[in-house]
């Protein structure tokens, strides 16, 4: 089949075709190599093998922890970051637009915000735990604190970088301030805003694990801690792999969302 396809190509096309095939195969090879390395190491030590890890994951379906299999725990974590992100995207973007567009608001809030931003999300955990306990609200709060800054910073940067030329076009057509904001500035900052959405999503996914590791009854972060407490290394590994896969999936989804919302950026990259 492949031979047939290549018969009608000239040398240059053949070369390009082979290269493209190579680019598709290389990622598969790297994953394969990792599994190979992992199996070899596992065979020579008491590190769990890929098969044991996989079996442990399957066992979770028969024998759920706290009444939930791996999907249940992933869903719990995803619900937490969804609530936090929904809050952050609403208020973070609004706040970013405010301090990016309005000079007075910028002067008023920038010092406070920079201070807030400099405190790492993990540093909030003790305060929030003492104040609100270890319930659901605290965890969502920690995720909010951990992923708010990237939304605000990116949105503000986008709003500060609106090209004066576009604003001038608005002026020349007698656009009022509201029209300049909604028809020119915000759309032109949209790709920066989406960069914020992307980074905040991956930040939220990281922070939710930390929050769940510190006292929780569900979620993938909880699974890891449970595995550690029970010296159940296959469970720890299984949870880590799921975390990696979900994180990658979230990145792909937000990227797709960006392309959907900003079709012109797709055109440019072509």
């Amino acid at each position: 089949m492949i031979k047939d396809k290549m018969k009608n190509m000239n040398e240059e096309e053949k070369r390009r075709y082979r290269l493209e095939r190579l680019y598709k195969i290389l990622p598969v090879i790297s994953i394969f190599l990792l599994i190979l390395l992992w199996s070899t190491v596992a065979a020579k030590s008491d590190f769990p093998s890929p098969k044991e890890t996989c079996d442990r994951l399957m066992l979770l379906f028969e024998n759920p922890i706290k009444g939930k299999n791996i999907f249940g725990h992933t869903a719990e974590s995803l619900i937490r970051i969804s609530i936090a992100l929904l809050f952050n995207w609403t208020f973070g973007i609004a706040f970013g637009i405010l301090i990016g567009w309005n000079k007075k608001a910028k002067a008023l809030f920038t010092p406070l915000f920079n201070g807030f931003r400099a405190v790492p999300p993990l540093a909030w955990i003790p305060l929030i735990t003492i104040w609100f306990g270890t319930g659901e609200f605290s965890k969502i709060m920690i995720v909010i604190f951990g992923s708010l800054a990237s939304v605000v910073v990116n949105t503000q940067a986008g709003m500060l970088n609106v090209d004066q030329l576009y604003i001038d076009v608005g002026t020349s057509f007698n656009a009022n301030e509201r029209q300049k904001l909604f028809q020119i500035a915000i759309p032109s900052a949209l790709d920066a805003i989406f960069a914020g959405i992307r980074t905040s999503t991956s930040a939220a996914w990281m922070v939710v694990l930390a929050a769940e590791m510190l006292g929780s009854e569900s979620g993938v972060g909880f699974l890891i801690v449970r595995g550690m407490d029970a010296m159940d290394m296959p469970l720890v590994l299984a949870a880590m792999i799921v975390i990696g896969l979900v994180g990658a999936l979230l990145a792909i989804i937000t990227q797709y969302l960006e392309r959907l919302m900003c079709p012109w950026t797709r055109v440019e990259s072509n």
Partner: protein, 253 residues
């Protein structure tokens, strides 16, 4: 051109900026009349304040001195009856050709159906039919400039300001756009103020040419160009005017 009817009166306009601790005059006491439906070219070397003058007329900058009268009434700031064709980059990359062209009408609050119809008319006029859904990044330089022209026309202005619109185009595209803008102007007569630093372009397009001196920008000379259109840049009369203007032009730094 109807010399009996003054469309726009530029009266003693000055503009200066504070740079460091000194005041720099960009343009100084510039006065002239623009007649109805005239194609007026403002010609000058780089840095002579041509763009500043256009920005003042377009209401993007507030002059430090002088007044503007449109149809005999003083205007301040940006006026609905004056529209601007910006340099290439002023198309909004997140809008399609159609959305860029209808932008002025959208700002005015015209309903979607009506503004699409009007915008389509001008998209057709600048020969971009079929590219309505394209994004600016998919267009060539000349095509982008056509979108800019269509956008300025769509808000139905009485005066069009064009700031070196073809400056970033290659020579070939530039010639064809000069022909194009002349055709469009003859089909849809408006008063046009066209800024350029290219002498040939000025003589090819202008009913009159205002020659400016270099900074601070002042009016040096006003030429009436009575050659029939379309003009031929190899015509002896054309060349004679070109020589005259050329010898009178200050060299840019």
């Amino acid at each position: 051109m109807d010399k009996s009817r003054v469309k726009l009166k530029v009266d003693n306009i000055s503009q200066s900026y504070v740079v460091g601790d000194e005041v720099l005059d960009a343009i100084l006491n510039v006065s002239f009349d623009v007649y109805d439906n005239e194609f007026l070219v403002i010609l000058g070397p780089g840095n002579c304040g041509k763009t500043v003058l256009l920005n003042v007329i377009g209401g993007l900058e507030k002059p430090t001195g002088g007044k503007l009268y449109l149809d005999g009434e003083e205007i301040v700031g940006s006026d609905k009856r004056i529209s601007m064709v910006f340099q290439e980059l002023a198309l909004m990359p997140w809008k399609t050709v159609m959305e860029n062209v209808e932008f002025g009408l959208q700002i005015e609050g015209v309903d979607k159906k009506t503004r699409r119809e009007i915008a389509q008319k001008y998209i057709d006029l600048v020969q971009l039919t079929g590219f309505e859904k394209s994004y600016p990044s998919q267009l060539s330089g000349g095509m982008k400039q056509r979108v800019g022209i269509a956008r300025a026309y769509t808000s139905n202005p009485e005066i069009l300001l064009m700031d070196e619109p073809f400056g970033q185009l290659d020579a070939q595209t530039r010639y064809s756009m000069q022909e194009e803008i002349q055709k469009i102007w003859q089909q849809e007569k408006r008063t046009i103020l066209f800024v350029t630093n290219n002498i040939e372009e000025a003589i090819y397009l202008g009913d009159r040419i205002i020659l400016m001196s270099k900074s601070p920008g002042k009016i040096k000379e006003i030429y009436d160009i009575d050659l029939p259109r379309p003009r031929n840049s190899m015509d002896p009369e054309f060349l004679a005017i070109r020589k005259e203007v050329s010898e009178n032009t200050d060299l840019a730094l």
